[in-house]
């Protein structure tokens, strides 16, 4: 930790947050907010004079509230930077009449009540996200009585109670009578591996943390009898099994079963645990003087802003989603962004350090190269066709298109390096004035024509996005899930690319059913491009209805990359639907759509309405 403060290449902004972040790989612009510390960091020598005179006493977060600190304080003795911070909300007042004692006491005069937040702009080429996790709050698990029973503590609180630098100065005491307990129980998987409350996943570290705690107790308090209540012990890492064995051999009792309830004896404040021992099948009661809840890890609650800045998404467990779970576990889906530590998934210190090293190495590749290539799938404005409506600029999830200027007849401009190539703009442009490099309209139309060239009425034209539903189909294949052969698939980068023209063209050529599929809203690889897919499909349902075509024939599904099951299920369901579409129906559709007039009429009817609504619509978007 010290090294960070000293390293000539590192600028440390503590007590700071990322206020804004724009740009793209190689070229990120960041605004950092340095929160006012009210103490001049570079001058402070951590002499303690100010702390002594401060009259405000509040619970100390670092000691989990077991002891107190002042309104001006240092978070913990080894803090880096080694400087005090003044909590203005707790401070009595920043004028000498109210208090001002610390400023008086400070010899170096480094306390400044008027200090303001400071905004700093920096430019970087890569970003490493290492924002970590939070610890599960067990109060919702009422049966354990945390906060009701004082001698039920969390694993974080245990750390402070056993620590030499803790509130009890290393004497392990239980909260009620400040005596060293004779018996102690650890409850595992608190907030983890539960479908109903807390989280369904395993938090990775809690088993070994408890094993470690029991060993610490054995070393320092060999008389304490320890019991561990568990579902199963996961000691899979290097050297872990050995620690676990030592814990067992040291006399710690491991009981398979999670207590259903903890009652407190109102006199002794001892705790009575009722547990079904799943090894013996017996209902057991254990009286213990203290209980530690082995807490799981949860995603940070305050990560949304950063996620938006960097266009990141999470996996179902709420941790950030990596580019590829096996082959690119350190890379974010956004280029130039890497993960280190628990922000990606719960992990222990060793794994965090390993991943941090990997992230640094991955980032170095870009920094050393000094330049990056952008895949040539970006959008391009065909200026002759553009009528300066500006829809493209509004729908682009990356704000990669600069607004057109109608008066100056200036077409919108695509910032190539910021464009991710989702194709939403190309699909939304009413003038077809946007072309996606490598994924042009002509190519899709040609594919549709090729697929419809033979027995069109037998085929389900399926649009699948590159990131979720296409690999979802791959997953069905890998698992050898069998489904009907009617699916004819066309890959798009994003479901947002699926132009109304593509769908109508398929129907025009005789497709009985068309499926548009993409990522779930929460998984969208282009921030929120899927919302345009949804809107467009809704629009098409209305249009089909106006044309006398059953909207049911256009289907929509969100299929995740790991959900081959759903992919196969959808294909089976659509096969059943296919049987309900009659030849007459298909012929009618083909006629209606080939007869430009009917389609134009339907579009015109829609346009008239849209026109009326335009001002409000615009206001909404902005």
């Amino acid at each position: 930790m010290m090294d960070v403060g000293r390293h000539p290449n590192i600028t440390l902004y503590s007590y700071s947050e990322v206020d804004a972040l724009t740009g793209f790989v190689g070229n990120f612009h960041i605004t950092i907010r340095r929160k006012a510390r009210y103490v001049v960091e570079s001058e402070c020598t951590a002499c303690n004079d100010c702390v002594e005179v401060c009259p405000v006493v509040v619970p100390d977060e670092y000691q989990q509230g077991f002891s107190s600190r002042k309104a001006i304080y240092i978070p913990f003795p080894q803090a880096v930077p080694s400087a005090y911070v003044l909590n203005m909300e707790e401070c009595l007042g920043n004028n000498p009449i109210a208090c001002g004692k610390c400023a008086e006491a400070c010899e170096k005069k480094c306390i400044d009540y008027d200090m303001q937040d400071e905004l700093i702009n920096i430019e970087v080429g890569v970003v490493i996200v290492a924002t970590g996790m939070e610890v599960y709050d067990p109060t919702e698990l009422d049966e354990f009585g945390y906060t009701r029973h004082e001698n039920v503590v969390t694993s974080m609180e245990f750390e402070r109670l056993i620590c030499a630098g803790g509130p009890t100065e290393g004497h392990f005491l239980r909260p009620t009578d400040r005596e060293t307990p004779k018996t102690i129980g650890f409850i595992q998987c608190v907030g983890s591996r539960s479908e109903n409350r807390g989280n369904p996943y395993c938090s990775n570290i809690c088993c070994m943390n408890t094993v470690k705690d029991t060993l610490l107790l054995r070393d320092h308090y060999p008389d304490i009898e320890a019991k561990v209540f568990y579902i199963d012990i996961r000691a899979f890492g290097k050297g872990f099994e050995d620690l676990y064995k030592r814990s067992r051999e040291g006399g710690v009792k491991y009981i398979r079963g999670i207590p259903g309830e903890i009652e407190e004896n109102p006199e002794t404040k001892n705790l009575l645990l009722t547990v079904e021992n799943t090894t013996t099948g017996q209902l057991e009661k254990h009286e213990l003087q203290m209980v530690v809840l082995s807490l799981g890890l949860v995603p940070r609650h305050d990560g949304d802003l950063l996620k938006r800045f960097l266009t990141l998404s999470n996996t179902v467990d709420g941790f950030l989603m990596e580019c590829h779970p096996k082959l690119k576990p350190v890379d974010a889906p956004t280029r130039g962004v890497f993960f280190a530590g628990c922000v990606e998934a719960p992990k222990d210190i060793k794994d965090s350090v390993t991943q941090a090293g990997a992230a640094a190495a991955r980032a170095s590749i870009l920094l050393n190269a000094g330049k990056v290539k952008v895949e040539a799938i970006t959008s391009r404005i065909i200026e002759e066709k553009c009528n300066y409506c500006g829809i493209c600029a509004r729908v682009c999830p990356y704000h990669a298109i600069m607004e057109p200027d109608r008066k100056a007849k200036k077409a919108p401009v695509v910032i190539q390096a910021a464009c991710a190539g989702c194709g939403t703009c190309a699909a939304e442009c009413p003038q077809d004035a946007i072309e996606m490099r490598h994924y042009r309209d002509e190519q899709y139309l040609a594919q549709i024509e090729a697929l419809m060239a033979e027995r069109p009425h037998e085929h389900i034209v399926t649009f699948a996005c590159n990131w979720c539903s296409y690999p979802g189909g791959d997953d069905a294949g890998t698992a050898r899930l069998q489904y009907p052969t009617s699916c004819r698939l066309i890959r798009t980068m994003c479901s947002g690319r699926v132009d109304e023209d593509f769908v109508m063209h398929a129907f025009r050529l005789g497709a009985p059913i068309v499926l548009v599929s993409g990522c779930h809203f929460s998984d969208c690889h282009y921030i929120d491009a899927v919302q345009w897919t949804q809107k467009r499909v809704e629009r098409m349902w209305n249009k089909l209805e106006r044309l006398g075509i059953r909207p049911e024939r256009l289907q929509l599904d969100w299929i995740s990359a790991a959900d081959g099951q759903k992919f196969a299920r959808v294909m089976r369901e659509l096969e059943e639907m296919l049987k309900t579409v009659t030849m007459e129906e298909i012929k009618h559709t083909m006629e209606v759509l080939s007869n430009g007039k009917a389609e134009k009429k339907a579009t015109a009817a829609k346009k008239a309405k849209v026109k009326k609504k335009t001002p409000t619509k615009k206001a909404k978007v902005e």
């Binding site: 779930h520 809203f521 929460s522 899927v530 919302q531 345009w532 949804q534 809107k535 809704e538 629009r539 349902w541 209305n542 909207p551 049911e552 256009l554 289907q555 929509l556 599904d557 969100w558 959808v570 369901e573 639907m577 309405k609 849209v610 609504k613 619509k617 909404k620």
Partner: protein, 49 residues
């Protein structure tokens, strides 16, 4: 939040639910889990976008 009628275009199930105007949402049919759920246009020929 206003209420609206929804219809599943896969299994035909119809139900009422609430929605946030202007923000497209992921819709899932409570009966067949399909996402082909259409918010039916209201009585007066209102237009949704």
């Amino acid at each position: 939040m206003p209420e609206a009628k929804f219809k599943c275009l896969r299994c035909g199930h119809e139900y009422t639910g609430s929605y946030t105007p202007g923000t497209p949402q992921e819709l899932t049919c409570p009966k067949c889990r399909s996402n082909s759920v259409r918010r039916l246009p209201e009585k007066k020929p209102a237009q949704k976008d």
